[in-house]
């Protein structure tokens, strides 16, 4: 084995690959929980590690050791595979997003389309998870997730296309490079697209006001009602990775991604920017009540889709590129 292949394996497994991304996922779950708690004048995680920073990891390990119950009537194969897919899909997408340098681990022309595709697959996984549990609450949750996707999938894709048109490339790494060489962040050029992306990300991650598929007081835990033990641990990990993915995508497409500023390495700027995005998500999820599913879908089509189209038209007219 040559040193080069060894380095590549190290990159994929440790930094900036799987291990680093898992650590980041747990860190951002802690940031999100802590900030949300402080906004709501609670304490949040407190005991595990300094200020409870290890709490997400502890939760994960605890769930791994818990009993794993599969309902009698459940479709066993789908029920087992759904959590695996739910955790793996955002991880796969994260290899495409630049983390530690301007270039991502894997890059090819058109990887932006691949990210869109995996995010659609994630919702499909959610639907399958709800469907295969054969519980009424899970089924309603799964159907709601699918319905919700009809609402946000179009505007989020349009919001991803905006920076691509401006950069003239469908590769996320190229979009990042274009922003850094032309010395302008897309967020200043296309503020509408940025706002649409943020709102749709909230819906994608099932945060308030769009936590409709897992509305606790309405349908228990929604599509994840029947999952327990290892499967629930994987679902939680997938959720955390999704948070990292959403903030990383926002950072790459709109905030110029990882930048070398003076002596500060790119990964640090990346973490500062993504942490800022996570803080924004936490603040947004604290200040709303939950929408009803019909209000959410009609609101998305009435306001967000026209706004996203307007942004694309503006770019075509030469404003914001």
């Amino acid at each position: 084995m040559t040193t080069e292949t060894f380095l590549i394996i190290l990159q994929i497994l440790v930094f900036p690959g799987a291990f680093f991304l898992f650590a980041l996922a747990f860190l951002y779950e802690w940031v999100d929980r802590k900030v949300l708690a402080r906004i709501q004048s609670r304490y949040g995680p407190l005991y595990t590690g300094p200020s409870g920073i290890l709490q997400p990891l502890a939760d994960f390990l605890k769930l791994l050791s818990k009993e794993d119950i599969v309902p009698m009537a459940a479709d066993k194969i789908l029920f087992t595979l759904a959590p695996v897919f739910y955790a793996v899909l955002p991880l796969t997408s994260l290899f495409i997003v630049p983390v530690a340098s301007q270039k991502s681990l894997v890059m090819f022309e058109g990887d932006l389309i691949f990210v869109m595709f995996t995010s659609a697959l994630m919702i499909l996984t959610v639907f399958i998870a709800g469907y295969s549990s054969t519980s009424r609450f899970s089924l309603i949750g799964g159907v709601r997730a699918a319905l919700q996707m009809i609402g946000f999938e179009i505007p989020i894709s349009l919001a991803m296309i905006g920076p691509a048109i401006a950069a003239g490339s469908l590769s996320i790494s190229n979009i990042v490079q274009w922003q850094q060489t032309s010395l302008q962040w897309t967020v200043w050029l296309q503020p509408i697209g940025f706002a649409v992306f943020v709102v749709c990300s909230l819906a994608e991650m099932e945060f308030v006001p769009f936590d409709i598929p897992e509305a606790e007081t309405e349908i228990v835990a929604g599509w994840r009602t029947e999952f327990s033990g290892r499967k629930l641990a994987l679902l939680r990990l997938g959720r955390d990775l999704e948070l990292v993915l959403a903030s990383a995508l926002l950072t790459s497409l709109y905030l110029a991604g990882p930048q070398q500023v003076w002596l500060i390495p790119p990964v640090v700027t990346f973490m500062i920017k993504t942490a800022f995005v996570v803080l924004m998500f936490s603040l947004l999820r604290a200040i709303f009540a939950r929408f009803r599913i019909d209000q959410m879908v009609s609101g998305m089509w009435k306001y967000l889709v026209p706004l996203a189209i307007l942004q694309v038209i503006l770019i075509q007219l030469g404003i914001g590129r």
Partner: protein, 391 residues
């Protein structure tokens, strides 16, 4: 109602264990698509045999039993109980005791409504408002601790008056707490009336027309939110309510939003009542001594509990224990109206409509034996009841 059908009707159970219900009670919903077309309440999961227990204890012990009918409106139940027994005995509480009863009852209304506003916010997924309201509700709980030594079961009432006086040095503390709460409540009222997501989830949801509300015997804030002016404190004044000026808050929105607004404004009204009562509290003794045995007779006593009209019935036989005691808690009065509100609601609206009546199922559940074929009724003894619970 919608005419379009989306295929088969599915039955969705709510409870006895469900995150939206804090107490065990079962509702079977028939859902067509996303719309509720049938509601079947099944009450009685939390029957505690409390009326039977009343017959086994002396009148003095029963005060503490009455207090434990409900954890939230504990003072309303003891006020109602002591009033009933005072009626039978033919004694009246001294004026100062009656003012103290008003102050405790209104403090309780504030904490009960505050608790409810928090829960309503939680039901529509607004956890931040939930945490904020409950944080500020602590002010009232602390005041209760100062006044009575307890946060939940205050044990202030006794037959013939109250057990503890409100000393002069705690009056400024209460007033200070009231000033703080008034500021916060006005802020929350503003939030509820202007925050778009709350308006979207609550206005026009769970409609109860005034005519239906009266016909289905709705009580309390649920009735007043349908625009009907009905309040035991005014209609049949007890304690010192006949001497204290206050408004009966009504709202004619008939939906969940107006239930929230009515409760918020009632809290503000309660603050004014407490201020007036503290300023005009007469001097004097706080209780009169009463005999242990109660002469034979029967009586009905009414109180406006935070959730609505509370009715106690007592029958005495000349001994130290009641012969029969009956409690009708406000939640039971609101169940038929609740079923009416839920018809035509979306699945997502079920929790907030359910919570809209401020249900307290544990206080509500009573039991009676009826053979529905022969229409035969019978009564169990305490031993039979115990044997049943141990099975």
């Amino acid at each position: 109602m919608r005419k379009v059908r989306y295929g088969s009707i599915i039955k969705v159970p709510f409870g006895p264990q469900h995150p939206a219900l804090k107490e065990p009670e079962n509702f079977m919903f028939e859902i067509d698509g996303d719309i509720v077309v049938g509601v079947h309440p099944r009450i009685g999961y939390n029957h505690r045999g409390i009326e039977k227990a009343f017959e086994r204890r002396t009148y003095l012990q029963n005060i503490y039993l009455a207090e434990r009918i409900c954890g939230i409106c504990s003072d309303a139940h003891t006020t109602c109980y002591t009033q009933a027994i005072e009626n039978l005995l033919g004694v009246e509480a001294p004026p100062r005791a009656r003012y103290i009863r008003v102050i405790i009852a209104e403090l309780e209304r504030i904490h009960s409504h505050g608790l409810w506003v928090g829960i309503a916010a939680h039901e529509i997924g607004f956890d931040t408002l939930f945490m904020y309201v409950w944080r500020d509700r602590e002010v009232v709980m602390d005041l209760f601790e100062t006044l009575s030594g307890n946060r939940v079961h205050y044990a202030m009432n006794t037959i013939g008056g109250v057990r503890r006086d409100i000393p002069a040095d705690t009056v400024p503390k209460i007033k200070h707490g009231m000033d703080f709460l008034e500021k916060r409540l006005k802020y929350y009222l503003n939030v509820v009336q202007n925050e778009q997501t709350i308006l979207k989830r609550t206005s026009g949801v769970g409609i109860l027309k005034p005519k239906d509300a009266v016909e289905l015997c709705a009580v309390g804030p649920t009735l007043r939110a349908s625009g009907v002016k009905n309040d035991v404190r005014v209609d049949d004044p007890y304690a010192a309510y006949d001497e204290i000026p206050f408004n009966v808050v009504t709202h004619d929105g008939c939906d969940v939003l107006s239930r929230i607004i009515v409760r918020c404004e009632e809290m503000l009204e309660s603050i004014n009542i407490i201020r007036y009562a503290l300023d005009h509290m007469p001097e004097g003794m706080i209780r009169v001594r009463v005999p242990m045995a109660v002469p034979p007779g029967e009586t009905v006593s009414r109180v406006e509990a935070p959730r609505g009209e509370l009715i106690h019935y007592a029958k005495s036989n000349g001994t130290t224990k009641p012969e029969r005691y009956k409690v009708r808690s406000p939640t039971l009065g609101n169940i038929p109206a609740l079923c009416k509100m839920l018809m035509g609601a979306h699945i997502a609206d079920i929790p907030i409509v359910l919570a809209g009546i401020d249900p307290c199922f544990a206080c509500m559940d009573r039991m009676t034996f009826i053979d529905d074929k022969t229409n035969k009724k019978w009564v169990w003894t305490m031993q039979q009841l115990r044997r049943k619970t141990r099975k």
